[in-house]
Symmetry: C2
Subunit: 374 residues, 2 copies
């Protein structure tokens, strides 16, 4: 016998017939989230380049393009390949690409689409330049500056300006702008702290732009922002592009951010769920579902049961243990929805995302870049 | 252009040419682990049925069979399908299978291989029986009893015996034995506590066997045990089969279990690693590698850097931040090995496992049941 992984659903099915655990997308909520981002930026001239690391799904990227996105961000070269193959004409690899094999693939991809990439190291600039020249092409590059997240990126100001000058002397490269993503600010709970962090990031960008300008280096693009802070970058006056990713899905951890009144922010709707089946019910207060560590990522906390009356207590590899408050419910075979703690690494566990409206499956989209780690 | 996920390596490559992040298997350590399990059970008549949920890879299962395994355990029907398709003739789905679609596939699989499954619910027994009768076959079933893990399983003793009687009156089912896995004991740090938990589990099995015997119900199989406790079950006198999974790989969390002298147990060797590349090095004390939450599971703690001189501080989706103690090392482009915190959910993130000896890639095995969630 042969083995191929079966699809969990087909369009037209009712939700109760979907095999579990399955990744569900509430299409009404998803559409509302796309619309809400448009509406919230209606009076702004800023461009949107959604992050495809959240969904890894060209079908979703195409819908973001239809909503006016200028292109998508990717974190990996193979993720970018999947997006270009899926019809996206403009990708920013919003990450450093290091190593000959990855660089070769990146330059090859630039023959098929508008491709740009981040740099934060002079040796890496030289390697990218050599590969682009070898291929007889030019590659668009942006400098990542560290605006407080303490991850990748050169220091703002002089180190960034020095790298821009190096790029300007590299015939295979075209300097396009600055990447200033404050990732650490996205899940800071208090709005005042988020505001302070993004104000600081914008100030560091301004200082860098002033230095570049003094050297006669023009900077077309300043890109950054995530779902947790994007209105702040949009109104900063320095950012030209926004990169939200999670806004289409949301998750339990984003649900813990609060507004100025101390209330949870419900700007975007929860559209992403894990459908799970109650597979063991041997105790009145305990139900075990078939969604554990291989069905959801617990790095940012446990999932939340979407239906009232139960609490997800703990995950093992293939099991989730629920404490049941309403003993008459959560019967063997019942299907329930879970809100994952963190959307991006949870989506990466699945080969398909099952779109539904009401009680009916409408779409089964392949997560083409699932596992595209390279 | 088309997109297919590229393989990270080919046999014959040197490790430094492997694309990252990649799942590595040190084949010498893997072979030693297979040999050590054999040696440690040499004087015992107990059978070994390794758990394939750890590796999801038929190539590995076949090597376990060559070491005398009676078959493998699987946690999911699709995982079992992948193992049977890969040449494994005997699989125990060591889990409850609930829902018509899953049961139909399970019964269909029983036409291709010796298939057994766990039950802990009378309605589920009836559903399995009906499906087996419909297909004109009989299905082997074992009763899962809860020996202290508080997850799935009926209570030992009378509830288990009542379920066995029900199975005995079900013409489509064959009662084969008892599943008594103390999962919660595997990562209990102290050997005294592990011993007490397994002694208690064995006692509960004995009581259940006595009841079954009084009812004239014979019980061929008592199965359970994991890598953290298997010598205890092996010497208990009641278990007939052992189900270790992680022993072939090990992980940072198992490395925290201690022996009677309070020292870390090094019974099995660490054979599983994530190969990662230093992709950003903008600060003397910080190196960023390309292996984050989508390349390793942090549910049981962060990964440990296999090479001395650095510490893995934190993971974001595609990045790992290291604190570097030896500033002259961990240069941009360097490849390093990480020991994952938890092997099973980490393996499930990869499509291939790259086997190597010394510095050379020897095998690239597909993880066929990766994502086999159903």
């Amino acid at each position: 016998m042969d083995f191929t992984l079966p699809r969990p659903a087909e369009p037209g099915m009712t939700l109760t017939d979907v095999d579990t655990p399955a990744l569900l997308l509430d299409l009404d909520a998803f559409d509302a989230n796309l619309d809400h981002l448009d509406a919230s930026l209606e009076t702004s001239s800023i461009q949107v380049r959604p992050h495809s690391k959240s969904h890894k799904c060209p079908e979703i990227a195409l819908r973001q393009m239809a909503h006016g996105a200028v292109g998508v961000c990717c974190q990996k070269v193979t993720e970018a390949e999947a997006m270009v193959a899926g019809g996206i004409p403009n990708v920013l690899v919003s990450n450093q690409v290091v190593g000959p094999r990855k660089i070769e693939r990146l330059v090859a991809l630039a023959q098929h689409a508008r491709v740009s990439v981040l740099v934060d190291d002079a040796a890496n600039v030289a390697a990218l330049n050599a590969a682009a020249l070898d291929a007889g092409t030019t590659l668009d590059v942006l400098i990542e500056i560290d605006v407080g997240a303490k991850r990748c990126g050169v220091e703002p100001g002089k180190p960034a300006a020095a790298l821009a000058e190096l790029i300007n002397t590299s015939d295979g490269l075209q300097f396009r702008g600055i990447h200033a993503y404050q990732g650490a600010a996205q899940h800071v709970r208090s709005p005042g702290e988020r505001r302070a962090l993004i104000e600081r990031a914008a100030q560091l960008v301004r200082e860098t732009l002033t230095l570049l300008s003094a050297k006669g280096i023009s900077c077309d693009i300043v890109t950054g922002a995530g779902t947790g802070t994007y209105p702040l970058e949009a109104s900063s006056g320095v950012y030209t592009e926004l990169q939200p990713g999670s806004y289409i899905f949301m998750d339990a951890d984003y649900g813990r951010n609060i507004d100025d009144d101390g209330k949870p922010i419900h700007e975007f709707q929860q559209s992403l769920f894990i459908l799970a089946t109650v597979m063991s019910r041997t105790s009145p207060e305990r139900a075990v579902v078939d969604a554990g560590l291989k069905a959801l990522s617990v790095d940012s906390g446990l999932p939340v049961v979407a239906e009232s009356g139960a609490e997800y207590l703990g995950a093992s590899d293939e099991h989730g243990v629920l404490r049941v408050h309403d003993r008459s419910r959560f019967k063997l075979g019942d299907k329930i929805r879970l809100v994952p703690g963190h959307c991006d690494p949870t989506v990466n566990l699945y080969d398909w995302i099952v779109g539904y409206r009401g009680d009916t499956v409408e779409s089964v989209w392949p997560i083409v870049a699932r596992g595209a780690l390279y």
